[in-house]
């Protein structure tokens, strides 16, 4: 009780007259998530679960709708400065080769254009397998596949220093199947430009 009586004025002094706050925004796809406001030690929980609401931070948080006025101009400027979402491209290869399918060849030019349009672009080459074989084998296989395709792209003039290879194994199937099902659609390489 005593500790609490002393802690509160000290907090107010630290924070000065203006309080910290947060605003939960709608996601770019229209949905929205949640933010839990906890005390610095991780205890307590006030859930901000309505999009376009403002919450004060510190003491006991209060949550209010943004209302018609919306964001402050400085806040709107901050949100508009966010980098665009990453863009994903999928490449398919003739089985067991690094020869791209006819449909995938033009995608390489789309990737090139996307990189050129993004200052400081990075490229993540992600290998995916089907469900044939063990998880461990598929992790290794997809990593090796991603590295092969990274080299292929480097040979096509893509900057090696902005690329990285990741193997996702069979965790992210394009088309869901049971275990040990061969699927050309699932055996693919995803190129993420961010």
């Amino acid at each position: 009780m005593n500790a609490r009586r002393f802690a509160l004025p000290a907090l107010l002094l630290l924070a000065g007259c203006a309080h910290s706050s947060m605003v939960l925004l709608p996601d770019e796809d229209g949905g929205h998530g949640e933010v839990a406001i906890l005390k610095p030690d991780g205890s307590g929980e006030t859930l901000v679960s309505e999009a376009n609401s403002r919450a004060s931070l510190g003491g006991s948080p209060t949550i209010k709708p943004l209302g018609a006025k919306g964001l402050k101009p400085t806040e709107a400027a901050l949100v508009s400065a966010l980098p665009p979402p990453a863009k994903s491209f999928t490449l398919y290869f003739l089985e067991g080769t690094t020869d791209m399918t006819r449909e995938s060849a033009p995608v390489v030019d789309e990737i090139r254009a996307e990189i050129a349009a993004r200052p400081g672009a990075e490229v993540q080459v992600t290998g995916h397998t089907d469900t044939v074989g063990s998880d461990g084998d598929n992790d290794a296989l997809s990593q090796k596949r991603a590295e092969e395709i990274l080299n292929l792209l480097a040979n096509k003039g893509f900057d090696r220093t902005i690329m990285s290879a990741v193997g996702r194994g069979e965790r992210e199937l394009k088309v869901p199947t049971g275990d040990n099902v061969s699927s050309p659609v699932n055996r693919r390489v995803e190129v993420i430009v961010r």
């Binding site: 630290l14 947060m22 949640e34 839990a36 510190g58 949100v79 990453a86 400081g120 990075e122």
Partner: protein, 144 residues
């Protein structure tokens, strides 16, 4: 023998050092903006790689936009100091944990894979609170 172990050490460094610790890159910056890495101050230029423990610092006209390897995106406003205190991410499993401290200023966030990988796997600390990020877009303002 010494030569062999030196060779092994440098081989290990070659294999493990590059890109291993890179957690994101700066996409754009304006005005006075820098990355603090220990005692070093690095200009916040486009393409600058970021490491765990880095702090993003802006002056009154400064802004930084950046992305992380889990697809999290940040915009840092003027007069800010944002510490990337912890960033651990398994790119194969897409799991990890991420703690950012907004010491002062403003930060807009679009969360990425880490926030999806577990309850409060992504946290944003302010001087008076700890935010558990549950898959979303939001902003935080910490006045001086």
């Amino acid at each position: 023998m010494v030569r062999v172990s030196l060779f092994l050490v440098s081989l290990a460094a070659l294999v493990s050092a590059p890109a291993a610790a890179e957690i994101g890159r700066i996409k754009s910056s304006t005005g006075t903006a820098s990355v603090e890495r220990g005692a070093a101050h690095i200009a916040a230029s486009t393409g600058q790689e970021l490491m765990p423990g880095d702090a993003l610092v802006t002056g009154k006209d400064g802004r930084i936009a950046l992305t992380f390897i889990d697809n999290t995106r940040f915009a840092v406003g003027p007069n800010s100091r944002i510490a990337l205190s912890k960033f651990e991410y398994d790119r194969t499993k897409q799991q990890g944990s991420f703690v950012t401290k907004v010491e002062r200023g403003s930060l807009a966030v679009v969360s990425g894979r880490i926030a999806k990988s577990g309850r409060d796997a992504m946290q944003v600390a302010t001087p008076e609170s700890l935010l558990g990020v549950r898959g979303t877009r939001f902003l935080v303002v910490v006045p001086k």
